[in-house]
């Protein structure tokens, strides 16, 4: 059809007829809707990309937060069990300490009276008590070492779990020098009891902090802030006593 139109035009050299003019007009109007659709498609693409980046960003934030909460609370549950164990040992420590004091007094009396058999048996009993005290001290030290291990492993596990996400500078902030916020009290020679430190929940809390560009891999932060921007996030957990149990919970 187009070929015939061109042939007619060049052959006659006159102004084309009305029919031909209409044909040309209808051909020139083809693509009118396409022109209109181009900015619409551009708008839709921008919108879809914006929505995708927002959805990815929110998903990343929620995912990192829930991973942190899960790991932090699990770590605190383990610490709570260890705390309960070490506090339960206090009774035994005090009992042994009192028993030792009693037998030491009896030994002093036996020495003064010169009853050799009694002295030997009391010394034997005292050495057993001392061994018992040493064993308790070892148990307490073992529990404290375990708590330190739990603290280190919690951070390690969190770093491993957050590896797949666009997270950097994961660090832990604690509010006490050791893993368990305990105060040590000396009960005579080689005997210590432990009790929760003053303001325990506040001092037992541990805060994990991390930096993240939530919109990775779509770096739209460059468009908004004119530089690559990362945001800091954190999650905090602690322990609180409820009855006989130590409950782990999120904290501010």
């Amino acid at each position: 059809m187009a070929f015939l139109q061109k042939k007619f035009f060049y052959q006659t050299k006159f102004k084309p007829s009305l029919i031909t003019q209409r044909l040309y007009k209808s051909n020139s109007q083809k693509g009118f809707i396409n022109l209109f659709l181009l900015p619409l498609i551009a708008l839709m693409m921008t919108g879809v990309i914006g929505l995708a980046s927002l959805s990815i960003g929110i998903k990343h934030i929620t995912q990192t937060q829930s991973t942190c909460i899960k790991n932090n609370i699990k770590g605190k549950i383990k610490l709570g069990l260890l705390l309960k164990q070490i506090l339960n040992l206090n009774e035994k420590v005090l009992k042994l300490h009192k028993t030792r004091q009693v037998f030491q007094a009896k030994l002093a009396v036996a020495v003064s009276t010169g009853q050799i058999k009694l002295i030997l048996s009391l010394r034997k009993t005292l050495s057993l008590i001392k061994k018992g005290q040493a064993l308790l001290m070892l148990k307490q030290q073992y529990i404290l070492n375990q708590s330190q291990l739990v603290k280190v492993n919690t951070l390690k596990k969190l770093k491993k779990d957050l590896q797949i996400l666009p997270v950097s500078k994961i660090q832990e902030k604690t509010f006490f020098t050791k893993a368990l916020a305990l105060e040590k009290k000396r009960e005579g020679d080689k005997a210590y009891t432990y009790k929760p430190a003053a303001n325990f929940t506040e001092r037992q809390k541990s805060r994990f902090l991390w930096k993240m560009n939530p919109f990775y891999p779509l770096n739209i932060s460059r468009l908004i802030f004119k530089q690559k921007k990362t945001f800091q996030y954190q999650c905090t957990a602690s322990l609180t006593k409820k009855g006989h149990l130590w409950i782990s919970h999120l904290y501010h």
Binding site: G47, G50, L51, S66, I69, L250
Partner: protein, 117 residues
């Protein structure tokens, strides 16, 4: 000759009329797309803020305080529509939240949960 001029006169302004009709259709289409985008953005934002509200409640703060903070945060970015219902509650070891949002003659329901190990 006369018919020729009449036809030419009839065709004048044809493109303007066509443009008017198409513009109307395109405006309606763009409006619908923008409303759809706005709804999706709002739902994503509310879902995120509801999760933050659950975290707030799990920090042993007053749930009503957390609910009011959540509503305030939602309205910062999304002043349109009305939040008809927002509730944060504890179920055993999990915190659950629900929002009912009314926008453009429709109700949208958002649910989130935060389970603690």
């Amino acid at each position: 000759m006369k018919t020729k001029h009449r036809n030419e006169n009839l065709q004048k302004g044809q493109s303007i009329v066509e443009l008017m009709f198409i513009s109307l259709a395109v405006i309606v289409l763009i409006k619908s797309i923008l409303i759809l985008f706005w709804i999706v953005i709002s739902l994503l934002w509310m879902e995120h803020q509801l999760y933050q509200g659950l975290v707030c409640a799990a920090q042993q703060k007053n749930t009503k305080l957390c609910e009011s903070i959540t509503i305030q945060q939602i309205k910062k970015l999304n002043p349109l529509g009305a939040i008809k219902f927002l509730k944060i509650k504890k179920f055993k070891d999990a915190w659950k939240g629900e929002i009912q949002w009314h926008f453009y003659k429709r109700n949208f329901f958002i649910k989130q949960s935060l389970s603690l190990p």
